[in-house]
Amino acid sequence: MVLDAGHTSMKTLLWLQSGGCGGCTLSLICAEQPDFITALEIAGIRLLWHPSLSEATGSELRSVIDDVRAGIMPLDILCLEGSVIHGPDGTGRFHLQAGTSTPMKELIADLARRAGTVIAIGSCAAFGGITASGANQVEASGLAFDGAEPGGLLGGEFRSRSGFPVINISGCPIHPDWVVETLFQLGRENLKPSDLDNFGRPRFYADHLVHHGCPRNEYYEYKASAEQLSNLGCLMEHLGCMATQVHADCNIRLWNGHGSCTRGGYPCISCTEPQFERTAHSFFETPKLAGIPIGLPTDMPKAWFVALAALSKAATPHRVKSNAVSDYIVTPPVGQKGKKGK
């Protein structure tokens, strides 16, 4: 039951968690058609261990890890969920592995050197994420990035045995399909380093913007903006939405069957990007300079944006203007039936 006939050798996968919330695993088990366990089987992947799924506990797990470290058990894929914790003062004592008192960062570094491919699951493991917010008292970093800068635990030059940099499936949390489709491609051995962007993110989801497919696009076009969170209008001008700048396909593939942040009525807070946690302003407020949002869409010259925004605002139809500040559609589109043929 694998994706290609001929690929009969199973790949091994070990999943560890460190400075995170476990939410990426919880999101991942929302995978559908197939469920995550079946998806692993189809990808030709054998779980050596996963903290939420496996039977092995305590010494049983420690012996799995010992076998990998001794080279007895080959490790094809290492997944880390959660950031690497270096504190206090570089000792790693804020996260010691239960049962061994080894700083997790040491265990992770050792296993990463032995792994065929290393995958950072979620923005914490990729860049440091929410665990690195505020004063970053726990000295959290990503595997190969410290925020937006290459570095982190393994360093920007790190390449795993297969020649890949760390694959950063960023997101807080990840979409289950981002992980499953990466594993499918690894199982088929058709993923190439060039399939990753500059931050190591798989381009199949990171070459899109969250704005793509957003149902508020017409409001965006006219700069018809929501005034409060429940309104239907565009969330960019006032309510902190960064979807036009953020790399991910959230409004194309949808979450839990139906949703996305902007569909749920709240702004995209940029959770797939490095340092999304470090906003100088509130997540729910758009920072402005002289009334103009500071963070303008990617690739767009500012003068053009301002000119077009002024023009489109002036041209906004009543329908769009009135719906933008309502929680339901109050002005439906006018039908075609009034048009008479000749």
Binding site: Q17, C21, G22, G23, C24, L26, I29, C30, A31, E32, D35, F36, I37, T38, P51, S52, L53, S54, E55, A56, T57, G58, S59, E60, L61, R62, T91, F94, H95, L96, Q97, A98, G99, T100, G134, A135, Q137, V138, A140, C172, Q228, L229, S230, W255, N256, H258, G259, S260, C261, R263, G264, G265, Y266, E277, H281, S282, F283, F284, D327, Y328
Partner: protein, 483 residues
């Protein structure tokens, strides 16, 4: 006497290590260690108060909605606003959806797989346990994952996604649904009900919850439908292993009250001890730092005045978990506490006869699933499309607020102080902070530490299976515990 360290403990949420003192094949004493510290309370200091709703859910990926609702309630308390009726209904629906999904995940993915362990080879029920519940390989977990993922479409429809939605706000919820959306949620619930009634219970949910005593439950379990269900498979194994005798605590329970509507709770707020319920005074809650790696350990404080300054060199400490106490005493929280405080006749009867134990903790969770799905249906029907779901409120410059709610695993509280429009102090006590708390200044062990004392250790066991049943019966969430 020998000392043994068990860890890493899996099929619990987050990191857990347990030290056991074992004598003559019995656990004499236990120490529970939460070995991961992330510092969420300090991350929040100085931030815009509204951001707590984005930051606190990320404490925990499995109790994410619970964290965000506690934070929304603390902010609402500070803002002195309340959501419109639709918003209040949606809060309940979204929280109950998470709590039901968590109970289901716990049962199939975290708890049942231990019965397929090789140590039980030869038991008459072992082959069935392997076929159905074995970790990764058993059939039940895949059926559950498919049903759970479909059920979680409710989150996609109402809250954008799960985990880590921003849809729960102090003034209600951010996405208004219409009649079609309402019908779609009801259809999703109906499909989920089918899974529960065919696989988990083998009977209508209303029949499951009509069992008013342990004796009723035993009679019901012999009916042909229930007999083939996963719940009754658990009851059979539980009886064979005498899990009703395992993992006792002092039997003092607390619930903040769950699913608030118009000032009342669907599951009542209160405390329960020795057969009587009482009122809860949240002013009597304190956190004791005597055994935790923190500075400023002198005297226990109410969380509204709590301090969190990590100190990895603190003496006589063995965990990052603080020790919350109610009126200086240990309490147990969770589904069993909620149901006994609410007066659920079955759980009250089981607790009266057997105290708090592994079996009753699991039964209480499953009974709660059977109670909550009909409630979800009812709340969804009561939504009035085209009425408001959300009310805008302003953030005061100076205020205090508390948000006390029930997560799947028990009582969750957020305490917040706002000064000059910024967060001055933010303190969180999570359910597992109560259940997996360390010893306090009197040396009194926390609930799980109490429950582990007396656990049998079989010949040749490294990680005693009884210890695993006891620990997992609490459904611990360690990432919430320390945060």
């Amino acid at each position: 006497m020998s000392r043994r360290i068990v860890g890493p403990f899996n099929r619990v949420e987050g990191d857990l290590e347990i030290s056991l003192e074992i004598k003559d094949g019995t656990v004499e004493a236990a120490w529970v260690n939460s070995p991961l510290y992330r510092g969420f309370e300090q991350m929040l200091t100085g931030r815009d108060p509204r951001d707590a709703i984005a930051v606190t859910p990320r404490i925990c990926g499995i109790c994410s909605v619970a964290q965000s609702l506690a934070s929304a309630m603390a902010l609402a308390d500070a803002q002195e606003i309340a959501p419109p009726p639709n918003g209040a209904l949606m809060r309940n629906i979204i929280l109950a959806t998470e709590n039901v999904a968590d109970h289901l995940t716990h049962f199939y993915m975290f708890f049942m797989p231990d019965f397929a362990r090789p140590i039980y080879e030869g038991e008459p029920w072992h082959d069935e346990a392997i076929a159905r519940y074995k970790a990764v390989e058993g059939m039940a977990v895949r059926e559950m994952l498919a049903a759970r993922a479909a059920f979680m479409h409710i989150m996609g429809m109402l809250a954008g996604h799960w985990p880590h939605t921003l849809g729960l706000q102090p003034g209600g919820t951010t996405h208004a649904i219409d009649g079609a959306g309402q019908a779609r949620v009801l259809a999703t619930l109906a499909a989920f009900r089918r899974f529960l009634e065919s696989r988990l219970f083998g009977d209508r949910l209303e029949s499951v919850t009509s069992n008013g005593s342990g004796a009723d439950l035993e009679r019901w379990a012999k009916l042909p439908g229930p007999q083939a269900s996963d719940f009754v498979a658990f009851l059979r194994i539980s009886k064979a292993l005498d899990l009703g005798q395992l993992g006792r605590t002092s039997g003092r329970f607390m619930s903040y009250g769950a699913y608030e509507m118009e000032g009342a709770h669907f599951f009542r707020r209160g405390i329960y001890e020795a057969g009587t319920t009482g009122t809860l005074d949240p002013a009597l809650i304190t956190e004791d730092l005597s055994s935790a790696w923190f500075a400023h350990r002198n005297g226990a404080r109410h969380p509204s005045r709590g301090v969190t300054i990590p100190d990895a060199n603190a003496t006589n400490a063995y965990t990052w978990c603080k020790a919350p106490r109610l009126d200086g005493k240990v309490v147990e929280v969770g589904a069993i506490a909620r149901q006994v405080v609410d007066g659920n006749p079955l759980i009250v009867d089981l607790v009266r006869s057997g105290g708090s134990n592994v079996a009753t903790r699991v039964i209480a969770r499953l009974i709660e699933i059977a109670l909550l799905v009909p409630a979800l249906e009812e709340w969804t029907r009561r939504i009035t499309p085209h009425e408001p779901f959300f009310k805008q409120g302003g953030i005061p410059d100076n205020a205090e607020g508390a948000g006390l709610i029930e997560a799947a695993r028990g009582s969750l509280g957020h305490w917040l102080t706002i000064k000059n429009g910024r967060i001055l102090n933010y303190q969180i006590i999570a359910p597992t902070t109560w259940n997996f708390s360390p010893r306090d200044h009197r040396g009194t062990p926390g609930a799980c530490e109490q429950a582990l004392a007396g656990a049998p250790v079989r010949q040749g066991e490294t990680e005693p299976v009884a210890v695993q049943h006891i620990v997992r019966s609490f459904d611990p969430c360690m990432v919430c515990t320390v945060h």
